[in-house]
Amino acid sequence: MKIVYFAWVRERIGKAEEMLDPPPAVRTIGDLIGWLAGRGEEYAQAFAAPRSIRAAIDRTHVKPETAIAGAREIAFFPPMTGG
């Protein structure tokens, strides 16, 4: 699946998007955050405060407990500051 990052999540990870194939045990957004945080120092930093991370599946806001099965594009970003 395609994972995309925005704002300081993108900056800390050092890339805007990547294709990843998490193992089957990674079922929810929360699981995915934990799995990503273990991929290296830059990921650990980006996901150090999971409560400051928002997520979207296929361009719709979702919660940490939302299942990721069938997702084409998952996005991680800080709380929005538009408007």
Binding site: F6, P78, G83
Partner: protein, 155 residues
């Protein structure tokens, strides 16, 4: 008749008068137009701001604003609705966001504009990075913004 709805995410500035004219031209049923214009401030929390850079999530920004526009049209009897949000580098005094609501009476126009701004602030995928003499830093979400959006949630 469906409500005339314009949503644009763009780098360029917008023309408030032209957007109002586009919504109201040839209509005899509009008695109230409310505009909200969000502008880049040159001072925030006591420090000078040189510029903001707005990052957004292309595709999701339009979709998210579209969902809230549809919700506003369901909740209030609107005669027209325009939402424009800029991205890219914006200097103090420049426009950031425009919401224009039109209705027969003022209550619907005011309520819909406030609802949309509260939702945009809390939910539209945009992020502001601030440039100042101290360097650049991502703007933190205001604590009140989630609460402002939550007041529109039906019990």
């Amino acid at each position: 008749m469906p409500v005339p709805l314009t949503i644009r995410i763009q780098q360029n500035d917008f023309d408030v008068a032209a957007e109002i004219a586009a919504l109201t031209r040839g209509r005899a049923d509009i008695g109230a137009v409310v505009n909200f214009i969000g502008i880049c401030r040159g001072r925030d929390d006591g420090h000078d701001v040189t510029a903001l850079t707005l990052e957004h999530y292309p595709g999701m920004a339009e979709a998210e604003i579209g969902r809230h526009a549809d919700e506003a049209c369901k909740r209030w009897p609107l005669a027209g609705l325009t939402i424009i949000h800029r991205h890219g580098r914006i200097e103090p005094g420049e426009n950031i966001v425009l919401v224009v609501t039109a209705s027969a009476h003022r209550e619907a126009a005011f309520q819909a504009a406030e609802f949309l701004m509260d939702y945009l602030k809390a939910n539209a995928p945009f992020w502001k990075r601030e440039e100042s003499a101290q360097g650049t830093a991502w703007v933190e979400a205001r604590l009140g913004d989630d609460a402002a959006a939550a007041r529109w949630t039906k019990p």
